[in-house]
Amino acid sequence: MANPISRTWRKLFYQDGGCHFQLPKVDSAFPEPPNEGPFGDAGPQALGWFNRLTNNGRVATPFFYTIIGVILAILTVLEVWLFTLSDDFGAFFVPMMLLLAIAKFVIVVAFFMHLRFDKNLLSLVFASGFLLAIAVFMIVLSVQDKVNPSPLIAP
């Protein structure tokens, strides 16, 4: 019970009464109970970890960055491993790969490039360029019939 993983596990999946998720005990003294929701206080608790590692979201520690680096490495290994199984996934392969790439992209941008810690304006600037690129080039690809290529052999 003391270890945080089992504690989080219990918070997430412990059945209490007839519900699938643990519902917070509502007391008349607390008309608006904190951390209401399906995940209990798992979110704030994770945030607590995040804040401890990053000095309340300002400057992170080398340890924090190393964890991020390890996560990125794991994602890359996962990507290559899934690639070796690509035939098993059929149509799901491409979206899965893209999701993993987006995850890596977002992690690098948010933590290594400090957008998570910086002014929101910088996120806006970068996102506008990046999302615009995705939008217009997706239009180009769809107009050029490259998103869902039509069958090459005409009937």
Binding site: A101, F112, G129, V140, I153
Partner: protein
């Protein structure tokens, strides 16, 4: 009434700005947003020409995923080294900062070495920029990325040797931050290239002979 300070270039102290972001950092981010469109255009060109090559070699014949995975990993770890260098610089630990900075440059050079070997192997296997659309789009896209890495390496080495001789100042830490932003951007472009061109695009070319033959008949 709180009023924003307006000093500009007053004796080396960094002027307060309307947004609270230093001018150079804002410039860097606008540049990176702009560079998104630059690489976006090259990647879009690659994708428009996917499976359009009329002759081989095709991606599945030349791409070497294990080797590129290693170089991808090297570049990813250089990003980690970069962020550590900046972190130590911000904590005024010049020695460690310089060590990690040189590590970034070294990893960058290793990545470039991988790329040179890859290019030479491909040329030996008959894939050149003249050979087919795959060769043209692949070499120019990854070549421009390599050029960005090369510029980054020069930048980092220049900073490691010229900038970090004396004590760290807030200005040189900010210099390092700029170089770091650029370096991480180069890394995320490679994240996209590795997934889209290597992993997803690897199977391009399987059975392409029949398809391009059919296209030629239809007049596509």
């Amino acid at each position: 009434m709180a009023q924003a300070a307006v000093t500009q270039n007053q004796h080396g102290h960094i002027a307060d700005t309307n947004t609270g972001i230093s001018n150079r950092k804002l410039l860097m981010w606008v540049f990176l947003a702009s560079d998104c469109l630059f690489f976006g255009s090259f990647i879009a060109t690659y994708l428009v020409y996917r499976n359009e090559s009329l002759v081989g070699p095709y991606p599945n014949e030349v791409l070497n995923i294990p080797v590129t995975s290693v170089s991808t990993f090297v570049l990813l770890m250089s990003s980690l080294a970069m962020v550590l260098a900046l972190n130590y610089a911000q904590k005024d630990r010049a020695g460690l900062a310089r060590f990690w900075l040189l590590a970034v440059a070294a990893l960058g050079l290793v990545f470039l070495g991988f790329q040179v070997v890859e290019f030479m192997t491909f040329v030996d296997e008959g894939l050149t920029i003249h050979q087919n659309l795959f060769g043209t789009t692949f070499f120019i896209l990854t070549g421009f990325h390599g050029l960005h890495v090369f510029v980054g390496v020069l930048w980092l080495l220049g900073m490691a040797f010229a900038h970090f001789k004396g004590a760290l100042t807030s200005r040189s830490t900010e210099d390092l931050e700029m170089a770091g932003l650029y370096w991480h951007f180069v890394d995320i472009v490679w994240i996209v290239i590795f997934t889209v061109i290597y992993l997803i695009g690897f199977s391009d070319g399987e059975g392409i002979e029949t398809i391009s033959h059919a296209t030629a008949i239809i007049g596509g």
